[in-house]
């Protein structure tokens, strides 16, 4: 089973923004939302080996071998030109990595790690891999103290949650918007599944935090903040909410024209949430 592979965009051995403590973060490739505001859009698509990115690479790190894109990491200087040119928000630099490979990386970095987080893209699109990985960590005498977290948009059915939650220690759930039409406009999907998922995860006592991206004029409205407050409180008295501020860094052209979220704006919303009785509201450590 540990030979099962995932399409991985990136692996970090140091991250303090993907759950409690320092975490090994696996960014899986592919997403079922197409958020206008995505700050790493090149994790969204899956490569169809069209070859369009090859001429964009000044370092000759890319070629087509037997109709498949081949990437040479030793030649690449991370200029990201290939990401910019790809018509479907994919990346030619993804790697196929097995559960066994990840266990090996975790072992090498174990003293530094509080846990492991799968993120994306949308991690749950590669559900079988995630479950196998978490099961393997929990079965490993050396690694079982690492907590296993998922960072997700929650767009996953009840049955799948039923398989994922027993091997998961914590879930960070992104809610993009409460108004269904606004949510659809921002992501191309409905939010019903996500809202339901929040309750499912909460009932299993695995909801680490709700995340909400505040975009001026869109999700900072009274109606949205009200929706967030009511929803968070409906989940229970000790919910933790992380507010993220919309910034231009990394986002695609369409959202570049949108106004960015300021510290003053975020602080005001955070104060409102706290006053309404949400005990833990986390705000960004800095603004770009």
């Amino acid at each position: 089973m540990n030979s099962i592979q995932a399409t991985v965009n990136k692996i970090l051995t140091y991250s303090c923004v993907d759950g409690p403590g320092n975490r090994l973060v696996i960014f899986l490739q592919g997403c079922n939302f197409s958020c206008v505001t995505c700050h790493n859009p090149y994790t969204v698509g899956l490569c169809n080996h069209c070859g369009d990115c090859i001429p964009a690479c000044h370092a000759n790190a890319l070629e087509l071998i037997d109709g498949q894109i081949a990437f040479d990491p030793s030649a690449c200087d991370q200029c990201d030109a290939c990401l910019d040119i790809c018509p479907i928000s994919a990346s030619p630099m993804v790697q196929n990595i097995s559960v066994a490979d990840i266990l090996e990386i975790a072992r090498k970095n174990k003293p530094f790690l509080s846990g492991i987080t799968v993120s994306g893209g949308e991690a749950t699109l590669q559900l079988k891999f995630v479950i196998t990985l978490f099961e393997a960590i929990k079965a490993d005498s050396e690694l079982k103290s690492l907590t296993c977290f998922v960072d997700t948009n929650g767009h996953l059915g009840a049955q799948s949650w039923g398989r994922l939650l027993p091997v998961t220690d914590g879930v960070m759930l992104d809610i993009k918007a409460f108004d269904p039409a606004l949510h659809h406009g921002l992501t191309g999907q409905n939010n019903a599944k996500t809202l339901k998922a929040a309750k499912t995860v909460r009932d299993a006592d695995k909801l680490y935090e709700l995340r909400f991206l505040v975009i001026p004029g869109k999700t900072d409205t009274e109606a949205e903040i009200d929706g967030l407050t009511k929803f968070a409180l409906s989940l229970g008295p000790d919910i933790r909410v992380r507010l993220n501020a919309f910034q231009h860094h990394g986002v695609r052209a369409e959202a570049q024209g949108w106004e960015t979220m300021t510290k003053t704006g975020i602080d005001k919303i955070a104060a409102h949430l706290r006053k309404a009785g949400i005990p833990e509201v986390i705000t960004p450590a800095f603004y770009l």
Partner: protein
């Protein structure tokens, strides 16, 4: 003569120095008018070319570089010389220490070691409430920063979890002063997880304390123990270091044709010259200066047999990259396996040479290897074995690249891990990083949070707002990321002469 008079006048008339700072620089100029202790021609030439360096300690070593008194002696016996009775209460104990500090010499004239404060003060804490203890420590801390304003003055606490250590951590995070520098000695078998978390939370707050790997240090010393002093120098208590001389590995590498030549001839040659430089300085201190007739020896605060020589090395990053280039290899220090291994080999070889070279009037007859963090005038030379500022990889890769060096540097080695400010929302990550570093063999864990006002440069603290104010007056750049590295070269803060400085960094006037 005219030149000397002008130089002295520049000091006496300087706008930015206070009278005490002027007196200190004048005394340094006077000392340096004396002839240097006799050196053989080769050593003198290497010193002149600064392949080896005496840290500008002065021409007549009339006091050891670092003195670590055993303060428990004065707290137990009082002092006949200072006409002090043994203290009986916490107030009296703190007062006795405050007096004692003024009689402890060092290279800068300000004590670099103010004691293992929890061990020293705990016996006086019975019947003192937590609140009273906190208030007394707070006054003590304020006194230290205002009266002994040197970022190299260093307090130690730990490894036990105790009331004094907790009060000190609380006060230190609250006041965010530059002085004193602070180290928590951590031993996973003795320290509680809770107090380690308190210490690492403090790092997130104010980039202090350092966390020392107590089991690794303790086993190299005897029952009287060791202290962490100045930046992060590890030395015997009731003793210290007579001198610190250092080898600029970059200069050594420039004089080698190849890796083979470097290890076979050039490195051993300059290392021997650096031993000779240390030896003449130790000889002067022991045989000429009359330092050890002090009451400190008579009353048992220090023991002349417990003074080591710190054998410093620096600019390893440059040395490795130069040799890599000579071998036609592209890999850079800190990032490439082959380059890193060349660095480990240097450390291992230098430790071997130091271990095999006897020295007289030195604790246990041998010097102690030290990864030296630099002074203000170092240019194009990265401190110790560090990865050049601004190019460091993420903190985990950073630790993994440098951990194998740490076993060799018995009198101290420290890397500064710069952590971005997102960690403020997740201090548990700092705790985990610290544990990981110590478990990987780091002798010392030191981290800066990028957005903190109080940050470490070579091992001492500066206030970024001080530097920013200084820069604002000059109307120069605003790029905050450049600030810390600008501060690192020292010149930025020199002109302004803040009230609290690191005197060791500026060994003489005009530097």
């Amino acid at each position: 003569m005219q030149e000397i008079i002008e130089k002295l006048q520049n000091i006496t008339d300087d706008k930015t120095l206070n009278p005490a700072q002027k007196a200190r620089y004048l005394s340094i100029e006077a000392e340096n008018m004396l002839p240097y202790p006799a050196l053989d021609a080769q050593t003198a030439e290497a010193l002149k070319q600064r392949v080896i360096c005496d840290m500008y300690e002065g021409h007549a070593p009339y006091k050891p570089r670092y003195v670590l008194p055993d303060y428990s002696i004065v707290l137990k016996n009082g002092s006949a010389y200072l006409e002090l009775p043994p203290p009986e209460t916490l107030d009296e104990a703190i007062n006795t220490l405050m007096i004692a500090y003024h009689h402890v010499p060092s290279v800068t004239g300000i004590p670099v070691y103010i004691g293992q404060l929890d061990d020293l003060l705990l016996p006086f804490c019975d019947g003192v409430s937590d609140d009273a203890l906190y208030r007394k420590i707070k006054l003590f801390w304020r006194y230290l920063d205002r009266v002994l304003p040197d970022a190299f003055m260093h307090a130690n606490i730990g490894p036990t979890d105790n009331r004094v250590a907790r009060a000190i951590l609380r006060v230190d995070a609250e006041l965010k002063q530059i002085a004193p520098n602070l180290t928590f000695l951590y031993d996973p078998k003795i320290s509680s997880e809770d107090i380690l978390a308190m210490a690492t939370n403090n790092i997130v707050e104010c980039s202090k304390p350092h966390i020392a790997n107590h089991p690794l240090h303790a086993k190299l010393f005897d029952d009287r123990g060791y202290g962490i002093v100045s930046c992060y120098n590890v030395l015997p208590i009731a003793g210290g270091a007579s001198t610190l001389t250092r080898v600029n590995l970059k200069e050594v590498a420039l004089r080698a044709d190849s890796v083979v030549h470097f290890f076979a001839e050039v490195l051993p040659h300059y290392m021997e010259l650096n031993f000779r430089l240390a030896k003449v300085r130790v000889d002067y201190l022991f045989n000429k200066s009359n330092f050890f007739t002090s009451f400190l020896v008579e009353e048992g605060w220090i023991d002349p047999d417990r003074f080591t020589v710190m054998y410093g090395i620096y600019a390893m990053a440059e040395a490795v990259n130069i040799l890599q280039e000579k071998e036609g290899l592209a890999g850079q220090y800190g990032f490439d396996d082959v380059a890193n291994k060349l660095g480990y080999r240097m450390s291992e070889e230098m430790a071997r040479i130091v271990k095999n070279r006897p020295l007289e009037n030195v604790w246990r007859g041998r010097a102690m290897l030290h990864s030296q963090a630099g002074i203000s005038i170092d240019e194009g030379a990265t401190p110790g074995v560090r990865i050049p500022y601004g190019t460091e990889p993420d903190p985990v890769s950073h630790v993994q690249a440098l951990a194998p060096h740490h076993q060799y540097y018995s009198s101290g080695i420290s890397e500064i891990l710069t952590v971005d400010e997102t960690i403020k929302n997740n201090p548990e990550a700092m705790l985990q990083l610290c544990k990981g570093a110590l478990e990987s063999g780091f002798r010392e864990f030191t981290a800066n949070v990028a957005s903190n006002d109080l940050v470490r440069v070579t091992g001492y603290m500066v206030r970024l707002s001080d530097i920013a104010k200084f820069k604002a007056c000059k109307g120069s750049r605003t790029n905050t990321t450049a600030l810390a590295s600008e501060a690192a070269d020292g010149t930025g803060i020199l002109d302004r002469k803040p009230r609290v400085v690191g005197h060791e960094l500026y060994p003489s006037y005009g530097q």
